[in-house]
Subunit: 360 residues, 2 copies
């Protein structure tokens, strides 16, 4: 068996230690005589697994006690509707920062439930930067301010938490949660699909300040009501138990990496060396404002775009897979989440140099 | 390692062969160098897994080509809202058959979107039977007729598909799908959470006649739109890939059991011998009308209700776990889905006889 380096934007690589552990437990978890995927979500075994995952997430992100942590289904796409349905309360407008394809999707869905004010947009420049905070126009009557901390497709990442001018701050953190420390107390709500930095696809983490929930707009489906999930420990209905357990294994692994600060040091090293390799060559290029380059998703182009398909195919032959850019933008992209070993980035850089020697 | 017999109502037992196969693949699926849970849902490997699962499900249930098969998130509870949101179209009412706790939940959620007509209810008798079809009152102006083919908590199961008087027939088949043959062409829509007969929790199968979808009520979240999922091969957003794969392994196992007809023969044998043991003793009882007893969920009481906790605890000590009844009704319950081996039912019957000898 040869494990490859998988640069997919998500679902994406998981730590090999997590997979091995899941394999060891698969017929019998902790002497229970059952696989975790067979356990009742109401039983003591799964209860312990679920609680441990929440406790570890609270520890890793230093989540204050007045925040609820929810484990839901439906991915960020469900959150695009759930956020306005739950957080509008008596307001009729919400503010969004438009930094790329994912914030655009969040805005489009929200516009079905409220007036969407655009606090700032980077569209004119092709989504290669974040507009300066001083130029944002925030409607003080809006229910909340929403932004996307890392644009998975465009490769643009906020390096700091923006000031929200007093509005509850809502963040889609799907593609950089747990990759760097963040002050949760600055937020009203954080949501993130698991399939980049937390586990397999099929579970979504929501961290929400409890005073913000409890009032939904008419027509909100029961399973879209944060308060009902919070009141039932995320077991309003059957949760995706096995994925919840796997997410817990990833959190356990993360603690062994020195937590979020420890993994951030690795992520900085991995990203810096990959961008340095791109910048050092006229053969490769990355269009993003250096102040907002993503540590997680590194899009790049070849000077001769006709070579990009060849690059991806040859890389795959060398065990470096899923380097094609998103179908909506083309080009190439290396997603280097927490679980991508530094050796994987080194192998990619070596392949890039070799490819340039042969085709440059 | 000693595997136990798990009588949980769901999540529930999975075939040991499925768990072993998942364990073998966990670091490297088919020489891909990746776990299935690491694969991009857009890549060729997962594409093959997803297509195979759909093809096997179509084969097992003989699903006609004019039906779409969707793999969604959110469980039956999400379907309770999605069904009216998608199937009401220009109508303002829907008809429901009320046979227990789960049909009640479906009705309650639907009543938030439309007028719910009760075609028939078994409430007066404590949900121990299905009202005769001849007594149902079906509103011809209703958008659809909904029923729950097996009441997991109450232990009541339809033995035939009811006539819907020309309305699209909608069925929550969560707890008996794939346990017996069913004529899909009789239905407008079938939905089922996976965690009883199809796999781990976290994926929901929807089988829907394609002419019924494409029009949703205002305010329907995008991820609740069947048509959008159908048009995107259930990849409108990232699906729960690993659970989809595990569901596929269960379908593969089911084909090896002789398909739905083969497993039905096993299910009939298991249920008949368990009900026979209950009926043969005054120490145990099952309150359900024999014509509608569930083959999947067998609730039973002890003549001395004070012994029920002792029964469940002692049974667990013998490797027969999760026999407690649902917290809303109490008593005892043995869920004996497809994956419960006949030897597990035999072991339960032997334990029941022994317990009666000691306490009767």
């Amino acid at each position: 068996m040869t494990r490859i380096y998988n640069f997919s934007a998500g679902p994406s690589m998981l730590p090999e230690a997590v997979l091995r552990r899941a394999g060891e437990d698969i017929l019998d978890w902790g002497g229970s005589g059952m696989s975790v995927m067979e356990m009742s979500h109401r039983g003591k075994h799964f209860g312990a697994i679920a609680e441990r995952a929440e406790a570890d997430l609270r520890e890793l992100l230093a989540i204050p006690p007045e925040y609820k942590v929810l484990f839901l289904q439906g991915g960020a796409t469900a959150q695009f509707a759930m956020v306005p349905m739950n957080l509008l309360r008596d307001r009729t407008a919400a503010c969004y920062v438009d930094t790329g394809i994912w914030s655009g999707k969040a805005m489009e869905e929200a516009s079905r439930y409220c007036q969407v004010g655009v606090a700032a947009t980077a569209k004119a420049g092709g989504f290669t930067t974040v507009p300066p905070r001083s130029e944002w126009r925030i409607d003080s009557e809006a229910a909340y301010l929403h932004y996307t901390s890392n644009e998975t497709i465009n490769g643009v990442e906020f390096q700091d938490v923006p000031d929200s001018a007093g509005l509850p701050l809502v963040c889609d953190m799907s593609s950089n949660i747990l990759s760097r420390p963040v002050d949760v107390s600055r937020f009203g709500l954080i949501y993130a699909g698991a399939q980049k930095n937390m586990g397999p696809a099929g579970i979504t983490v929501v961290i929400v300040r409890e005073d913000l929930i409890g009032k939904t707009i008419p027509g909100t489906p029961t399973v879209f009501d944060y308060k009902k999930h919070a009141d039932n420990g995320s077991m309003l209905n059957t949760p995706p138990t096995y994925i919840w357990y796997l997410l817990g294994l990833v959190l356990d692994w993360l603690k062994q990496q020195g937590g979020v600060a420890g993994i951030e040091a690795q992520n900085i090293r991995k990203a810096q060396k990959l961008y340095a390799a791109i910048d050092a060559s006229a053969f490769y290029s990355n269009p993003i404002d250096p102040a907002f380059r993503s540590r997680m998703n590194v899009p790049f182009r070849l000077a001769d775009a006709g070579l990009e398909k060849i690059f991806a195919a040859e890389a795959a032959g060398h065990g470096l897979v899923a380097l094609e850019g998103h179908r909506s933008v083309g080009g190439l992209r290396a997603s280097i989440y927490n679980a991508m070993p530094e050796a994987g980035v080194d192998a990619l850089i070596a392949f890039m140099a070799d490819f340039e020697r042969r085709y440059g």
